[in-house]
Amino acid sequence: MMNNGSETIIERFRSITENTHEYAKSLQGKGKMLAGYMCTHVPEEILYAAGIIPVRVLSSHVSQAMTRSYIHETYCSFSHDCAYQGLQHNYDYLDLIVTSSSCIHMAEAFNVWVRFAGFQHKSYLMSFPHIIHSKPASGFMKESFEEFRQFIEKFSKKTITDDDIERAIKVYNHTRRLLQQLWEFLRRDNSPITGPEVATVTLASQLMDKEEYNQMLEQLIQRLENNPGKAPSGVRLMVTGGACDDLRIFDLVENLNYRASLIFIDSCTAARYFWFEVPEDRSDKLEAIAEGYISRIPCPSKDTVPGTGEKKRFRFIQQFIQDFKPDGIVFLCQRFCSPQSMDIVALKPILDKLGIPWTELELDTTVPVTLFGTQLEAFVETITGVAP
């Protein structure tokens, strides 16, 4: 097999996503403070500027009923799973848990940590607008970030200068640019790296110290550029939907009976996490951060342009379709995530107009390998049009 070490780097990333706690604790060993965050709307730059490493709280994929008496049945498995980890004290090593008022399901997971898992005195809930595309929203964000900054200064007992923030912004932007470079490979018909691998590397970015991460990712990209590339992508599938940190599902897409490739994932655990930049060298750093976070692919629960009611996210999706040329779209929707399913309703006619077939997978804690496998294979079969 011809790989010039790219496989080994990817393996390293994968092992970090599989051993998140060990990795995080190793950072602590190096004297770093750790802040867990439950929603990607938390401005990590501010934490990073204070020398705190933000690590995303991800699910453990353990099927359990314990949280049913803490969070309502009809909450997404992701929030149940994250709450479970709090109750199991898997994250007790965190110095701080932060979330922004966003998805109510995740907010409830946060509440469980605070109310029942002993995080009362090391938690911060940042109020974040639920409609982001308005002038007042950016002003509000700025104020809310300022409060956050002051809290972090008190918490970390160090002042956060504008230079600190600028440095953090640059580090994070670098990560974002590198990730975009990486994802660009998937536009090719014979990408040197597979979609699931890209998903793994992207997920790792939400768990790692960005400086270390950037170095590793740079190496990876270099090596990939000299890679000849793998087999033609076959049927190109794009995934759009909610948070999904279960890499088994993405692997599934490429282990079908047919040649199929995962070429894009629009979700807050993938593209939505990094597909933007924070303006650099602005005088007002917090305003810059606000501007950056507003320019993201919006989360369906925040996506209403005042005046028109337009969903900005759809523009991004159509752009990605143009750029990455999928043969089919897979809606990977967290069960019980209403905003996602509302978007799907409106998205289907758009895709039908573009003549792109779609199918739906309903996400839960467990991955029904046969069922998903069957639905995906059937999807590929309808796309390729097998018939006797």
């Binding site: 009976n257 047919y258 040649r259 069960r335 077939p357 199918t359 739906e360 309903e362 839960d364 046969t370 069922l371 496998g373 069957t374 639905q375 294979e377 059937a378 590929v380 079969e381 309808t382 390729t384 049009g385 097998v386 018939a387 006797p388």
Partner: protein, 293 residues
């Protein structure tokens, strides 16, 4: 079941050019159909236990009705949720294309929508006149297992599934149960007993609820005519009648000689037939043709 009526009594497999079989390992029952030069020659249907063992039981039961053996079959296609567990299959195809192929083969090129109500899953398939599936809708998690839940329900009321289906037709005035989830419907059914509803009403109510859930799925994906219903539950008049009423669409009349539960297996057999012939012509042309769809 009328599964023997279609069988050519003296299959002369020695003369047959192409002997193929489709094996459909479903969640509740496993079926197989053997074709001799495209003609059905034996079928079988057995209860699914563990998939691999059930697949063997299914094909053996069908072979028992013939005068030939497994090794005489040229090509076997496995389908159904247990398709990966069919050790003797040359290839697998998912239920969706098989449903379409089978339905069109039996009801003809006018079929555009196939509703397959199985033991575990419920799916709607759109297809072309050539039997090619163009789109499908799989049941959401809350609508899973309707077929099996009917069996459970039959046990609760101590009735045969089909008998129950007929009872369900005897009442059209009944309280509505939750048509959202069969667990809910079940609990509410007990409440009907508690409120002393008649047996006919209660059974009709449960059937209506399940039919409504199925019909919602079908309507969601859009029903184009001609419309057919296949799968185990297609045998239950209590379900099919209500589905038709709710959708306000008549289905093509069921074929007495074909058990609707066998259509998917038939589709698989048709695929087997095609693949084998293609393979033969490929071999005569260039060898080593990949089996990729």
């Amino acid at each position: 079941m009328s599964e023997h009526t279609l069988i050519n009594e003296h299959p002369d497999f020695a003369k047959a050019q192409v002997i193929v079989a489709g094996v459909d390992v479903g969640a509740v029952s496993s079926k197989s159909v053997i074709l001799l030069d495209g003609q059905p020659c034996a079928v079988s249907q057995v209860k699914t236990r563990m998939p691999e063992e059930s697949a063997s039981r299914a094909i053996n039961e069908a072979l028992a009705k013939t005068n030939f053996k497994l090794e005489n079959i040229h090509y076997i296609v496995g389908t159904g949720c247990g398709r990966t567990q069919v050790p003797f299959a040359h290839r697998t195809i998912t239920e969706i294309p098989c449903d379409a192929a089978g339905a069109v083969h039996i009801w003809g090129p006018s079929v555009r929508t196939v509703l397959d109500i199985g033991g575990q899953s419920c799916r709607v398939i759109h297809c072309t006149g050539k039997g090619r599936a163009t789109a499908f809708l799989w049941n959401d998690k809350c609508a899973a297992g309707i077929g099996r839940s009917m069996e459970v329900f039959a046990n609760l009321v101590k009735k045969e599934v089909t008998e129950m289906g007929n009872i369900a037709l005897q009442s059209d005035k009944f309280p509505k149960l939750s048509d959202f989830c069969s667990v809910y419907a079940q609990s509410e059914f007990f409440d009907l007993i508690r409120s002393k509803a008649s047996k006919e009403q209660a059974i009709a109510a449960y059937h209506y609820a399940m039919a409504k859930r199925i019909a919602t799925l079908a309507a969601r994906s859009g029903v184009k005519q001609d419309f057919v219903i296949i799968g185990g539950l297609a045998r239950n008049p209590g379900i099919t009648d209500w589905v038709e009423k709710i959708l306000e669409v008549r289905r093509l009349a069921p074929k007495p000689e074909w058990d609707p539960a066998l259509i998917t297996a038939l589709g698989a057999a048709l695929f087997a037939d095609t693949f084998y012939r293609r393979q033969q012509s490929d071999v005569s042309k260039k060898p080593e043709e990949s089996q990729c769809a």
